[in-house]
Symmetry: C2
Subunit: 279 residues, 2 copies
Amino acid sequence: MNPQVLVNGKPDARIDPRDRGLHYGDGLFETLAVVRGEARLWDLHLDRLLTGCQALRLPEPDGRLLAREAKTLCTGSDRGVLKIVLTRGPANRGYRIARTDGPQPEATRILILSPAEPYSPIHYRTGVAVRVCATRLGLNPALAGLKHLNRLEQVLARDEWSDPAIAEGLMLDANGHVIEGTMSNVFAVADGRLCTPRLDNAGVAGVMRQWILNRARELGIETAELTMTIETLEQSDEVFLCNSLIGIWPVARIADAAVEVGPVTRRLMVEVAPHCLMP
Amino acid sequence: MNPQVLVNGKPDARIDPRDRGLHYGDGLFETLAVVRGEARLWDLHLDRLLTGCQALRLPEPDGRLLAREAKTLCTGSDRGVLKIVLTRGPANRGYRIARTDGPQPEATRILILSPAEPYSPIHYRTGVAVRVCATRLGLNPALAGLKHLNRLEQVLARDEWSDPAIAEGLMLDANGHVIEGTMSNVFAVADGRLCTPRLDNAGVAGVMRQWILNRARELGIETAELTMTIETLEQSDEVFLCNSLIGIWPVARIADAAVEVGPVTRRLMVEVAPHCLMP
């Protein structure tokens, strides 16, 4: 049986208690769908990881090494979830990053393969109900877009509800603009145009979000990144959520407002299906 | 020789790669001055840790157990730094916190004893120069005040300068209000009144900040928690920084503006000296 965890290439190893990932959330992560032994949308995930490394001044991992380690874990897994975590590694006390003239902390590279959750086919057929979270996203242009390890806002937001009939919570930023779901990005279709919130000040620039924007343009669908509110979503023709695992969930209800599940969403669901864990 | 790290009571143990502290920064920490074998301001640190546990719905640690473990590490250390990290422990995928009807993740308790940094006596004698960081603190009332593990804003802010003549950087929130230093709280004295920024929307409610507010009131010094700007600080009679390790650093310069080191600061420095690592 394959290992399920690799830490710097070592099977089932553990983490130094001085790791800056643990102390400060000083690192990045990626979550990939594994289908028939293969981590999907690999190039987009690797691109985002490297972009994040540049933004946080983290040493860039060797992409070929990462791909080999991913293969070691994923081979033989028919459906699974691969998480890659990259931290600035163990270090002595203090927020300061070691400078080039001193000893550099060695990055920590963690790969974890988990079983795929069974997503309900009904979510895809009739659409999901979402709520609006009270927990807001702080504004920080330097961190916006990055899939970094500071995720307490998402933890608190996801802790706001336990009703299994609510599939996801939408999060607003401090200005009241819709940014994303707790674990997904959000799209709206209005007059045939595909819109998604701008992520200049908050939010995670999801790989599936990017894939959908790219594919929609190839299909001749007009796209836009906008400042959006809950009212924008409620007044749209269609709304959907996406991430690398679920693919696309049509939205049928936002709090008390019903939303139609429409043809652009259905068309894009067909496109994303091979690249995610859609049932 | 005593161990320097305890993980859930085990000497020099390591961390599960599935720990939520690592994946989400889902936890809290305390940093204590160790003087002659004893972690100082213990009760205030424990109080803040328990307050943070309630805010994040983390299981509260046993205070007597923590005290015993701290003693195991600190006995024999003349001057040191004790860091306590408490996380929600290892868990399966997803932001959601396990509910009471399911399996609870077991909290992870990490204690690390580090050598005390040698603080320059000149910082205390003539005051320090501080800069104003470009990295802003996001606004989040649910997280404000907590010493949680989401610290990328501090990491980025501390990475803005390397000039050793600059001792600390002041951080503003998204509204441009002064909140704190990257690793300290800030106070100003104006017309005999001791003022420090309100921490309703951002910032860490430092234990030394609280100790100083308490002690100042006992000494008959009027105190206030206010909305403050860089101009407020520059126009004050005295400005100082504090934390549990450094005690108090008088501020002699904020960017290009000179500040006087004054009698209220000097008086409070005498008070805090026994409780921190002041030379």
